[in-house]
């Protein structure tokens, strides 16, 4: 069973503000998921490589060449707040 403090810590790591009711709800859901997947711990996986790429590709390289892409305005147009062509954010501290 996860404690409310543990759930709260996860929520802060995930950058989502949760109400006390939500902390209780997602805590319960998390417990249920962990119960559900517990069976995996019993599976013998000795000597098995983890799957990091399903079709077996490794280290796909490309030329590190700059390319002109003139969509700066379209990209910035989606920002809630901009100033002088920069994203505007609240104070960090």
């Amino acid at each position: 069973m996860l404690t409310p403090e543990e759930v709260k810590k996860i929520a802060v790591l995930a950058r989502i503000e949760l109400s006390d009711a939500e902390i209780a709800k997602y805590g319960k859901d998390l417990d249920a998921v962990l119960d559900y997947v517990a069976e995996l711990q019993q599976v013998n996986t000795d000597g098995l490589e983890i799957v990091s790429q399903v079709t077996g590709l490794e280290n796909v390289m490309r030329l590190d060449a700059p390319e002109l892409n003139e969509i700066q305005q379209e990209i910035m147009a989606n920002a809630p707040a901009i100033k002088d062509g920069y994203y505007k954010v609240k104070a960090i501290l």
Binding site: L13, D29, E74, P80
Partner: protein, 497 residues
């Protein structure tokens, strides 16, 4: 325009356009009229791109009138799941957090279709961020099933399935992560293709679970899917997971000859608790193929049961990483209440994400956090290897695997959460192939009565036959699906709406 033209399959539409029996403007107008008439009831589209569609159609007609050779999909309308970025057009992922997001560029698949002068009709509804398999988690309301509007269309590609089923789009782009094409295709009676992982570029498709995300398509027949596959497949420098494998002329190599074809029937895919009617229709379809000369083999795949457990860890892990980009600063919903930067992140995400997205982010963040990563994520990725190895082993002795695409026909809206079948058994049929990156189809194979009954005037709801092949075995699954559609006409049945 002759009414029956709009019911033609893609190769026939191609011919009609090439021979000037119909114009792209006429076709496009026809489908837009259908969308305007039926969408208020079906809720299959989030955005209808009427002006852009008419402009594209005129452009296509000019191109067709010119000297050059037409492309396979020139002038043919289509719909796109609202997970594909479309430049200058609202792209929401059916979420509130992206309710005002105008895509600044096109996904590779959309660029390929634009190069063919295809006509985008609009953006279709889905489970929010593709998190779901009922279409009900959309921030824009659930999609209704054209066969019975009190029922779901499945998901997450709910709107793509419903629009093709209702005949208001000749085909639609969709995406799969763990069943999101096969299951809704099955529930709405259309043909759906989930590609080999890396066959179709993910560039510009809003990410869910990056290691299984596979953009694909839904259409009226397997022949149509093969034609679409030739256009949208291929290596993309912008998606380094796409494979170098060349794209064969799938539609030209379709074969009806199934003599000697080795069909594996995995017993773990025919489970207690599945609807009897579904099992029966799928077995009937398999028997039909046997009569044509295919050989059946019962195969044992005991690791199948771990698929949904692995997915329960891998999927939220990747979701939590992918959704970390929604910061309320560069795009998407931002809070009005933020005091400082951290507070803006916390509140924007709290306000913008729906319940299921939050649940997956929380789960993913937990299992990836320090101290738990090895026990959960790494363990799951090792069990995933076990599942992949099992498929590899099985494909040494059989060509394809056949099974149901869904354990049930379409459920009544609002009932998914209470139906245990809907979660576990449905996952078991779809997720292992997704985790192993395999190509698969769902093709209509009959009708079955839902267990909660329906009007006696109805013959039941569509059932889907699933065809799974080895990695890059697109041609194999297309051939089996095509062969089946030459000896059946279930894919030609359309709802009365």
């Amino acid at each position: 325009m002759p009414e029956d033209l709009a019911k033609l399959d893609l190769s026939e539409l191609r011919q009609a356009l090439d021979e000037k029996q119909v114009s792209s403007v006429e076709l496009t107008t026809h489908f837009l009229d259908g969308i305007k008439k039926l969408n208020p009831e079906l809720n299959a589209f989030i955005t209808i791109t009427e002006d852009q569609a008419m402009a594209s159609a005129k452009d296509a007609d000019n191109f067709i009138a010119g000297e050059g050779q037409n492309f396979p999909l020139t002038g043919i309308p289509y719909a796109a799941k609202d997970l594909f970025l479309t430049k200058g057009i609202l792209t929401t992922a059916a979420s509130k957090i992206l309710e005002n997001y105008i895509a600044p560029y096109n996904s590779t698949v959309i660029t390929k279709l634009m190069a063919q002068k295809s006509v985008l009709l609009g953006k279709t509804n889905l489970d929010q961020f593709a998190h779901g398999s009922s279409g009900e988690t959309s921030a824009y309301g659930p999609t209704k099933n054209p066969w019975d509007k009190t029922r779901m269309s499945g998901g997450s590609s709910s709107g793509s399935a419903a629009s093709v089923s209702a005949g208001i789009a000749p085909w639609a782009l969709a995406t799969e992560t763990g069943g999101s094409i096969r299951q809704p295709a099955s529930l709405t009676g259309v043909s759906g293709w989930k590609p080999t992982y890396g066959r179709v570029s993910r560039y510009g498709v809003i990410s869910m679970c990056s290691s299984t995300d596979s953009p694909g398509a839904m259409a009226r027949s397997v022949k149509d899917l093969a034609m679409i596959a030739e256009v949208i497949s291929g290596q993309d420098p912008k998606d380094s997971t796409t494979g170098e494998h060349e794209v064969p002329a799938y539609s030209k190599q379709l074969s009806t000859d199934v003599k000697g074809l080795k069909i594996g029937v995995p017993k773990q895919y025919f489970l207690d608790g599945m609807e009897d009617g579904v099992k029966q229709k799928v077995m009937d379809a398999i028997t039909e193929l046997e009569k044509q000369g295919a050989q059946l083999f019962s195969v044992d795949m005991p690791n199948t049961k771990y698929g949904s457990l692995v997915y329960a860890i891998v999927c939220p892990s990747e979701v939590s990483s992918n959704l970390a980009r929604y910061d309320g600063i560069r795009y998407g919903h931002t809070t009005k209440e933020g005091k400082d930067l951290l507070d803006v992140y916390m509140k924007s995400r709290a306000e913008g994400f729906g319940d299921e997205a939050k649940r997956r982010i929380m789960t993913g963040t937990y299992v990836l956090s320090a101290g738990y990563y090895d026990a959960y994520y790494k363990k799951a990725q090792r069990v995933r290897r076990l599942i992949m190895n099992e498929f590899e082993e099985v494909f040494k002795t059989v060509d394809v695997l056949l099974c149901p695409s869904s354990p049930n026909v379409a459920l009544t809206l609002g009932n998914a959460a209470n139906d245990p079948l809907f979660g576990y058994i449905a996952d078991q049929l779809n997720i292992p192939a997704s985790l192993a990156g395999l190509p698969a189809l769902s093709v209509p194979c009959g009708f079955s009565m839902p267990k909660d009954g329906m009007a006696p005037s109805m013959d039941g709801l569509p059932v889907g036959l699933q065809i799974i092949g080895p990695q890059w075995g697109e041609q194999k699954v297309f051939n089996v699906g095509y062969a089946y559609q030459q000896i059946s006409d279930w894919h030609k049945k359309r709802p009365q709406i």
